[in-house]
Subunit: 248 residues, 2 copies
DNA sequence: TCAAAAGTGTTTTATCTACACCCATGG
DNA sequence: CCATGGGTGTAGATAAAACACTTTTGA
């Protein structure tokens, strides 16, 4: 059974090495009706989906989300949504805000619990699910028309990410396992929306001892190959115990 | 009409100058049933309230909260809850987390949206509302038995507050309009759970220019009277525009 | 005159900022 | 040999940390 007043929306962030992107979709109305008909509450939420902007035209996009099942933890459900759209089953997810305005969705009261996911697109094969007409990455600085309050939700997610990334080493989830210092710096720059000084950034990051050299270097690059680093989970946990105060 | 699957819980923090306290209540089952009978969804939520631990015994306390009305913004409803229990109508409220485990409340699926309020008890007359059997402040380090997952909710609220207070000047909401530097410091100490050096604290706070002298001093204290300061909202906003990075 | 809390400065150490050139690699 | 991005150090300014005594007031 679906909870008719509660949905979960996932803002799936992906960093491609240059830009921060969000995964958006358009659902296929015919397929969606097919799936929904099997649900107990179909009649009650059918109206909502009938009038869903991202179903009724090709210019409006929406966040990946759905009404929550009555028997599933919200955290768990957010995982399922993310897995079903990215094909990846161990994603960093953070609940960041619940949107509870009475009129945020027309005709019907739906509060939505917002999660953001941080993934590296290199590892994830975006799955066109059974319901999907289209699914696509969009640069956070060039979003298309969005349904309901989804633009506000993305903007709110980005604010949370921007704050979080300064005090917690979560940004690593956006990178491949092995990454260069330049990739790391670029990631911070696009999230924070400002340029950082390369020498000061490197000094600071290396002093923290949160990352370690792998000993490897980039291959097949048309310039000097950069060293590859990885996040040092073990040392991070040790430093947290000792009272690490992280600050980019 | 009440939303049967959605409630709002408010962790109301009050700082008395020495300790950080949380406002908890026990509702009166007879009165509660009386009020609920007037609601459309009475039968559906009656069972829930019938089995509510804070109604069925005198040792279990609960957060101040209620099922959300279908037609009210959650932010607005959190305000109403806070107003009705504290008698104050301009309270700092922050939504901090939504608790969505399937089994957090027995017998029935209820997700709860958590807000915390920061108030100064000096200005607030705790109102024993029509439903209240008892309402009382508890030191956050000496909480009584709590219903459902309310202990976890409080602990989560405190973590959020602890983080927030380090980067945003929200702690002022816990203080009277005019306060001494010692009160300010003690507030930080109880929230952060650590002692701060008095001289370094004063230097840091005064350098930020977030507070200004009122020119007044304490009266009727059995020792040297301390200067009274107030938060400088105007300058704070100016500094934010200039890119203030606050850090206690 | 005593008890209780207010108030104050300096030195050392660590961190932040600004800034420009050489290096390695592949094409 | 050139284009492209990788990689490095230093000096000056600012902020953090450690630390102990004098002042004011009311009882």
């Amino acid at each position: 059974m679906l909870l008719k007043n509660i949905s979960v929306d996932c803002v799936i962030f992906g960093f491609d090495g240059e830009r921060l992107n969000v995964l958006l979709w358009q659902a296929d109305p015919k397929l969606l009706i097919g799936v929904l008909q099997q649900k107990e509450e179909f009649e009650q939420i059918r109206f909502l989906y009938d009038t869903h902007p991202s179903l009724s035209n090709d210019h409006t996009w929406g966040l990946i989300g759905a009404h929550a099942p009555a028997e599933t933890d919200l955290d768990q459900f957010a995982q399922e949504i993310t897995i079903s759209s990215t094909g990846l089953n161990d994603v960093y997810l953070k609940q960041f805000h619940t949107f509870g305005s009475a009129m945020r969705v027309p005709y019907y009261r739906v509060i939505t619990v917002g999660y953001y996911a941080l993934i590296n697109p290199r590892y994830h094969n975006i799955r066109q699910s059974a319901l999907t007409k289209k699914m696509q990455w969009f640069d956070i600085n060039a979003l298309p028309a969005l349904c309901f309050d989804h633009r506000e939700i993305i903007s709110n997610a980005l604010s949370h990410l921007r704050e979080s990334v300064q005090y917690h080493p979560v940004g690593f989830h956006l990178l491949p396992e092995k990454f260069t210092l330049t990739e790391l710096q670029t990631m911070y720059e696009v999230i924070l929306g400002e340029k950082l000084d390369i020498r000061n950034f490197r000094k600071k990051i290396l002093k923290m001892e949160l990352i370690e050299e792998t000993g490897e270097k980039q291959a097949n690059v048309p310039h000097r190959a950069a060293r590859l680093y990885r996040f040092d989970q073990e040392n991070y946990e040790k430093l947290v115990k000792e009272g690490l105060t992280f600050r980019i």
